[in-house]
């Protein structure tokens, strides 16, 4: 089990996403997860070993490291990625539920069911409308909240996004205020800024997707309202024409009129 399994799970959701959703997923996998696994983990790999304090007092280094890094950047990013990917599961579950219902209908031999076999149901791509729209929109909303919460937690815990070279520590058992040096501070700052930048891009993509979905929803609503207003006038004109034709042809066309007006 690793990030590859997450890729398989989310890949399934990709089929039913909007174009912006697909871009978001690509950004997530290439610029966040891959960078985390291939590069960032190695930069933070030796963080405690190479964290050096200017003292021989045993225990001082451990205590100072724990004080300055309550939770390591790399672990926080891993948690952020997992939490941000989880709302997509809601969509996957909803799609699986719909497929299950369609398969049940198919097995019962429902005439309304337009599929030829089960494989077609498995391969079908569902449109984002109805209850699936609500699930999808909620998942984007939760994603945004998780991203924002983790960015804030990062900023709050580490006083900004810079990794200092030197930290002064006087936690017990350090005998006095001791200088402690962080390993690879510049490289860590670069990666931190990179991850924050990509997080911000993901937030923008999510906001864009949300706006797109809401716009589509309101357009659809206004079309429906528009259609229901125009329909009676259109029907009246057609009926008058038909009546004229009926008068010219014969009385038996009355059935057609009744059928037409209903």
């Amino acid at each position: 089990m690793d990030w590859g399994a997450l890729h398989t799970i989310l890949g399934g959701v990709n089929k039913h996403s909007t174009s912006i959703g697909k871009i978001w997923l690509t950004v997530l996998f290439i610029f966040r997860i891959m960078i985390l696994v291939v590069a960032a983990e190695k930069v933070w790999g030796d963080e405690q070993e190479d964290f050096v304090c200017n003292t021989l007092q045993p225990g001082c280094k451990n205590v100072c490291y724990d004080h300055f890094f309550p939770i390591s950047h790399i672990r926080l990013w891993a948690l952020q990625l997992i939490f941000v990917s989880t709302p997509a599961l809601l969509v996957a579950m909803h799609v699986a539920y719909r497929r299950h219902e369609k398969k049940r209908q198919f097995r019962k031999g429902d005439k309304k069911c337009e599929y030829k076999d089960i494989e077609e149901i498995n391969k079908q791509r569902f449109r984002i409308e109805g209850s699936l729209w609500w699930t999808y929109t909620s998942s984007i909303f939760f994603r945004l909240i998780f991203e924002a919460v983790f960015m804030y937690a990062f900023y709050f815990m580490y006083d900004g996004f810079r990794m200092p070279r030197l930290m002064k520590c006087n936690a017990w058992p350090c005998p006095n205020t001791v200088d402690c040096f962080v390993s690879r501070p510049t490289e860590k700052t670069v990666f931190t800024i990179f991850m924050i930048a990509v997080s911000s891009i993901c937030i923008l993509l999510n906001v864009a997707e949300l706006c797109y979905l809401l716009t589509k929803f309101f357009l659809r609503m206004s079309k429906k309202v528009g259609n229901s207003k125009h329909q009676p006038n259109h029907e009246n004109k057609e009926e008058t024409k038909q009546n004229e034709m009926n008068e010219l042809i014969s009385d038996s066309c009355q059935n057609t009129v009744i059928g037409f007006s209903s």
Binding site: W3, Q48, G59, N62, D66, P70, I71, S72, I74, P173
Partner: protein, 218 residues
């Protein structure tokens, strides 16, 4: 052999689960297994090397580490994940048994994977076992480590340490955060299992009552 084997196992179980059962599988995958592999394992990786005692006496550090961590948190976590996932196999075996009976024309089932009759009992037993194991491991964590806290400093006076020596645990705060996360996800899984149990019992007792009522009417 790795966690992928457990993943394949659980994916197989997913097919014969109720909706709540599938949520349980998703929680185990995403919030327990993935977190374990992607984050937690690395925190405890060098716990012995980074465990430091304020003494030069050879052997003192080893003995103190062994005294305070009889079984490392991360190993208990792995054991918990494996043992808690195993009762689901009972359901898989029972379905395989049903399919085997069908193959040998001993009995025809409408749907071998449907949760009724004997399979319902097996499913309920697997839920009770899962919940039981979760609770046992939580109690074990609590008893072994005096609560879910990890102190920065522990005092040790076991031979060959010449006196009471200060020993410092590495990354205690980070370990504690992930320990709380483990406890929270365990509790969530217990709640999901209990909900699924109540849902199944309620559904089937309702079915039984309805059947009895229909029979009385006739």
């Amino acid at each position: 052999m790795s966690w992928e084997y457990l993943c394949d196992l659980l994916s197989g179980v997913n097919k014969y689960s109720t909706g709540i059962g599938r949520i349980w599988v998703a929680v185990v995958f995403m919030f327990r297994l993935l977190i374990y592999v992607a984050a937690a394992e690395n925190i405890w990786k060098y716990e012995h090397d980074e465990f430091e005692c304020n003494i030069k006496q050879p052997g003192c550090e080893n003995v103190c580490f062994d005294h305070f961590f009889p079984v490392s948190h991360i190993r208990l976590w792995a054991l918990q994940l494996i043992i808690v996932s195993t009762p689901s196999l009972l359901v898989v075996f029972h379905v395989a048994y049903r399919e085997n009976r069908e193959k040998h024309n001993q009995k025809l089932y409408k749907n071998p994977g449907k949760i009724d009759g004997g399979l319902l009992c097996t499913y309920l037993i697997s839920l009770i076992l899962k919940t039981g194991f979760e609770i046992v491991f939580l109690v074990l964590f609590y008893k072994l480590y005096n609560g879910f806290k990890i102190p920065r400093l522990v005092k040790c006076d076991i031979r060959p340490c010449p006196n009471t020596v200060d020993c410092y645990i590495s990354k205690p705060t980070e370990k504690m955060i992930f320990l709380y996360f483990l406890v929270a996800t365990s509790c969530l899984c217990i709640i999901l299992n209990l909900s699924e149990l109540s849902y199944l019992i309620f559904k089937h007792s309702l079915k039984c009552h309805l059947k009895k009522y229909m029979k009385k009417q006739q």
